[in-house]
């Protein structure tokens, strides 16, 4: 019999940090500043608070069902039919996420570094490596992710520090030039990406070892706060460097790194951010594909939890290509306009339904 995979609470917190920081650290500031202008950091504080509330709901369910995934306790609380109904948007959004994360890497490479290279040449190898990592299991993933995330966070700190000579404090003011509405719009956008996505960890928490469970709550809150700190720091840095033009920069952190020129020796270090984007997006794609595979496995009660990995990776790969073949405007609309609402129906609503069911139902059957 195959032994159940287990990870420590610290590894779980690192996975959460990778998942939340992955791709958002490079992709969030540009569109967020475009929406909320100088109040983007307030938007992030608002959406981070929502993230904290979602995490407390997730931990409440975890306290009640420490050995079950979201699909399993949903089945115990609301029955099979409602679980299947909730799983439809849940799975559809996971497909959208997995394909979108890898597509982002490809678009970043073709927009900023290798313009003549076909997109498929970036997307396919990444999906191949992602699928292989998922097949190696959560223990291997957890052991592997620590060093890359440290590299990413250190690179970000270095860029933020080296950009200090380019900071202009007056760019931060006025904080709310158009009132509170743009800030709320920014909060809505950053709630959809990445904070509501936090709900996916409900699928991973049963992997935490029994002895590590008492420390898990603290570790997850710290991971979320570290993520919030870095997103706010990166957003502020972008505003401080570019001012009113910050919202027009697509990969703003990459552009910030481009401006670094210290003593004419330390320059052209944007590749650090490029590598960070690829690393973080890869880690996030691995976690998302792992959860997508796990969702199918639990939903259909499959014995083998690896058999669907390659077909799912192939589907996500083709979905990536399909999304971009419909045009850049279609993709941007999907990410900036539809994404938060879709995420609400796919993640926030099922979580809310299950939390209410867990509060009301005293003796679930499982």
């Amino acid at each position: 019999m195959k032994a159940k995979e287990q990870i420590s609470s610290a590894q779980m917190s690192v996975i959460l940090l990778c998942f939340m920081t992955g791709s958002s650290i490079v992709n969030i500031p540009g569109p967020l500043i475009g929406y909320a202008k100088n109040g983007a950091w307030i938007s992030l504080l608002l959406s981070l608070s929502v993230g904290m509330m979602l995490l407390s709901c997730i931990l409440y369910l975890y306290r009640k069902f420490p050995d079950l995934t979201f699909i399993e306790y949903s089945r115990a609380l609301v029955g099979n039919l409602v679980t299947i109904l909730l799983a439809v948007p849940f799975i559809s959004f996971q497909f959208h996420m997995t394909s979108g994360i890898v597509l982002d890497i490809g678009l970043f490479m073709t927009n900023s570094m290798m313009r003549q290279t076909p997109l498929v040449l970036f997307i396919f190898p990444i999906f191949f490596v992602v699928a292989l990592t998922v097949r190696s299991g959560i223990e291997a993933m957890a052991r592997m992710f620590f060093i890359p995330i440290v590299i990413v966070l250190l690179s970000t700190i270095i860029i933020l520090l080296l950009s200090i000579p380019n900071y202009q404090v007056e760019h931060l003011f006025p904080i709310l030039p158009d009132g509170i509405r743009p800030v709320v719009l920014g909060a809505y956008f950053s709630y959809g990406f990445p904070y509501v996505e936090l709900m996916l960890i409900t699928m991973l928490l049963p992997y935490v070892r029994k002895e590590g469970r008492p420390n898990l709550k603290k570790g997850l809150y710290i991971a979320l706060l570290v993520n919030g700190f870095f997103l706010i720091a990166v957003t502020l840095s972008t505003i401080l460097v570019f001012g009113p033009l910050a919202g027009e920069r697509l990969y703003s952190m990459f552009e910030v790194a481009r401006t670094v020129d210290l003593l004419e020796v330390i320059q052209r270090i944007e590749s650090l951010i490029g590598i960070s984007l690829i690393l973080t997006a890869y880690m996030k794609a691995v976690i998302t594909l792992f959860i997508l595979n796990l969702t199918f496995t639990k939903l259909f009660n499959l014995q083998d939890d690896r058999i669907l990995v390659f077909p799912l990776a192939l589907t996500c790969f083709l979905f990536s290509l399909q999304q971009i073949e419909k045009g850049g405007a279609f993709w941007i609309n999907a990410v900036t306009v539809i994404h938060p609402l879709w995420a609400t129906f796919a993640y926030a609503l099922p979580l809310l339904v299950i939390v209410i069911a867990a509060v009301l139902r005293k003796n679930p059957r499982y």
Partner: protein, 80 residues
């Protein structure tokens, strides 16, 4: 298009070779789930090879949520 067809055939063959030995030992339930996802990928594969722009999840989200999502953004946007 030929390159796309060849690459898809190579990918499907590689997946088939990798998973076939395992599939033989599995239950019917696993085989049904595997086949269903492979069929889904075939749908997207045909769409990719012939650039047919068939509808999928993105289009479904656009139809179901596109309008309310746009309204939310428009309501919160400040006219410039």
């Amino acid at each position: 298009m030929t390159a796309k067809i060849i690459s898809m055939v190579v990918i499907y063959t590689a997946i088939w070779i990798t998973d076939m030995p395992k599939l033989k030992k599995l239950h019917r339930r696993e085989i049904i789930a595997y086949t269903a996802i492979l069929l889904l990928s075939t749908y997207l594969g045909i769409d990719y090879v012939w650039a047919l722009k068939w509808p999928f999840l993105g289009d479904a989200a656009q139809v179901l949520l596109g309008e309310p999502a746009r309204r939310i953004v428009e309501t919160l946007k400040v006219p410039s």
